[in-house]
């Protein structure tokens, strides 16, 4: 909400974008330096995996923020990104340069078509439908042993070079950490610009009052399907990076728990905020790591935390901090 309010300032329109660009640049630099400070390759590797999850959480949060729809099946797009890359590498002679765009475009296209149908329904029905679609994909991959490797998963051998770069970069924790980090930063910056664009505002308006949007002359189906498609594209980027890094993908990435944790990350971090879900991912994975050492009931603890957060801090971590700062700011001025 507050983010939207801020964008409506009649101040020079370029300034917030310039500030955001500065922040993005700084964040990218931090990410590039960070691996130098982390000695343990295991930690770095976990962090890299975590960042691919953060990309998925960001896509889930983007969908919530920009359309109000809560997807219970977003692992589908992450998994598709990974599987399309893996399967095309394994079964076709296509160059990786051609495969990568396809691995993002196919999930986006699927989401767009599915979106034209499912965004017509409301809230819970949408969530259930996304869950159903995701389960279908999970089952297909598990059952399709010859082609997709079934339960055993799929090992992927990368060609030596892509876009002139050695693909060993993707499998070296430090380098891949930088690649995934910068990708996430670029995604966040683009989503920031999208939210401020005319299209972004139309989406906010449709989320706010779909009927009124129609009566002021807008089609409302297409924009929502488009947001769903963009969200799917982002999720699939996470999956592509995941498979490039691991050289392996299994149906786990399509499982509903994958969708579920991405949603939990988005909510804990605060889906109303651009960086909320990514922050949520960090917190979630750190908690899972620490709690996993202490107790095997970490899932229950995270579940309980989620309930606590949704009831007590509905704006998530980032939202709660934001509102706290604003309230203090107001108090100071008064």
């Amino acid at each position: 909400m507050s983010v939207q309010a801020a964008t409506s300032l009649p101040a020079p329109a370029a300034r917030p974008a310039a500030i955001a660009f500065g922040i993005a640049l700084a964040a990218a630099v931090v990410g590039i330096v960070l691996p130098l400070l982390v000695a343990s390759p295991v930690t770095l590797s976990l962090a890299t995996q975590g960042l691919t999850n953060a990309i998925l959480a960001t896509s889930v949060g983007f969908l919530i923020r920009q359309s109000g729809f809560v997807s219970f099946g977003h692992a589908t797009f992450f998994g598709m990104g990974a599987y399309v890359t893996g399967l095309l590498l394994k079964h076709t002679g296509l160059a990786l340069e051609a495969i990568l765009p396809l691995a993002i475009a196919l999930p986006a296209a699927l989401a767009f078509v599915v979106g034209l149908v499912v965004v017509r329904v409301s809230g819970v029905a949408f969530s259930m439908l996304t869950l159903a679609v995701a389960q279908v994909f999970y089952e297909i991959v598990v059952k399709w042993r010859d082609f997709a490797g079934g339960d055993d998963g799929l090992s992927v051998t990368l060609p030596p070079r892509v876009f002139g770069l050695p693909t060993t970069l993707f499998q070296e924790p430090g380098d891949m950490f930088r690649i995934v980090w910068v990708t996430l930063v670029v995604i966040l910056f683009l989503l920031f610009l999208l939210a401020r664009s005319r299209f972004g505002r139309l989406c906010f308006a449709i989320k706010d009052n779909e009927e009124r949007a129609r009566f002021i002359g807008y089609r409302t189906l297409m924009p929502r399907a488009l947001v769903f498609a963009i969200s799917a594209a982002i999720g699939s980027i996470g999956g592509v990076l995941f498979v490039l890094y691991n050289g392996f993908v299994s149906p786990d990435v399509l499982h509903w728990t994958m969708s579920g944790s991405a949603l939990v990350m988005a909510i804990i971090g605060g889906a109303e905020f651009l960086i909320g879900p990514a922050i949520g991912a960090v917190v979630f994975l750190a908690a899972k790591d620490k709690l996993g050492d202490i107790t095997e009931h970490w899932q229950a603890i995270i579940g309980f935390t989620l309930i606590l957060v949704t009831v007590r801090w509905p704006h998530g971590l980032v939202g709660t901090i934001w509102h706290w700062i604003r309230r203090r700011g107001r108090g100071g001025r008064a």
Binding site: Q4, L202, A205, D208, N209, E211, R212, F215, G217, R219
Partner: protein, 234 residues
């Protein structure tokens, strides 16, 4: 006679077995302010819904300047020059006033003009849900006025406004007709407003058109008096 700017032919709308609108004809010439009155539940809002494309299952025909728009979606009708306001305020609660008017203007501009006309300037950049009720009512109207539609369907725009605000609104509508020749269909409970600014008035009662005439004719009509007195007067 020239082609009406807005015309409904044989409009009917049922809710289950209940006929909220029964075979209603209405024709509003360009540049006219037409009042639409009737007791509570007479079908006024239903008629606006049917004309604007909001109603689900209905029958009949809707024409704008002779073009059949019966099968047009609300957004197509809007692009054709039809705009409406809502009896139950319908705005974008989380967008700022200017932001939503800019959206409603598409690429046409005119936001400042409408802001001024409806005294919505200076309301800041906060979400519209924080505005007072009266401001929200006028914002709803502004969302309809922006872009200079050719046909305006207004469902009780003055409900909840102060007497002074209603009078200002009445004057504004008159001015708009003069300045850009808009055609207005106005649902209004305040008889003073209706009789003072409407060229003609259509009276609905129990989903049917009871009569139609000039303010004087309507005022003198015994049927209208009975229809209103038949129910406890508002």
């Amino acid at each position: 006679m020239t082609t009406p700017a807005l015309q409904g032919i044989g409009l009917s709308r049922h809710y289950g077995g209940f006929a909220a609108l029964r075979n209603v004809d209405i024709a509003v010439p360009a540049g006219e302010i037409r009042g639409l009155i009737g007791p509570n539940g007479a079908g006024k809002s239903t008629l606006i819904d049917v004309l604007s494309g909001r109603a689900g299952k209905w029958s009949g025909q809707v024409l704008m300047a002779g073009t059949d728009v019966s099968r047009h979606s609300p957004q197509m009708r809007r692009r054709h020059g039809m705009a409406r306001s809502f009896q139950r305020t319908s705005i974008f609660p989380n967008l700022a006033v200017r932001e939503q008017l800019e959206l409603a203007a598409h690429h046409g501009g005119g936001v400042d003009e409408v802001l001024e006309q409806l005294k919505l300037d200076g309301l800041g950049t906060g979400p519209a849900s924080e505005l007072s009720y009266g401001d929200q009512r006028r914002l709803d109207l502004a969302l309809a006025l922006i872009g200079r539609p050719r046909v305006l369907l207004l469902d009780e725009p003055a409900a909840g406004l102060t007497v002074q605000e209603s009078l200002d609104l009445a004057r504004l509508l008159r001015d708009l007709v003069k300045s850009w020749g808009v055609t207005v269909l106005l649902v209004e409970h305040d008889m003073e407003v209706v009789f003072s600014i409407c060229d003609r008035i259509t009276v609905l009662h129990l989903g049917e058109r009871l009569m139609e005439g000039t303010p004087d004719e309507v005022r003198r009509s015994p049927e209208v008096v009975t229809a209103y007195l038949g129910r406890s007067a508002h």
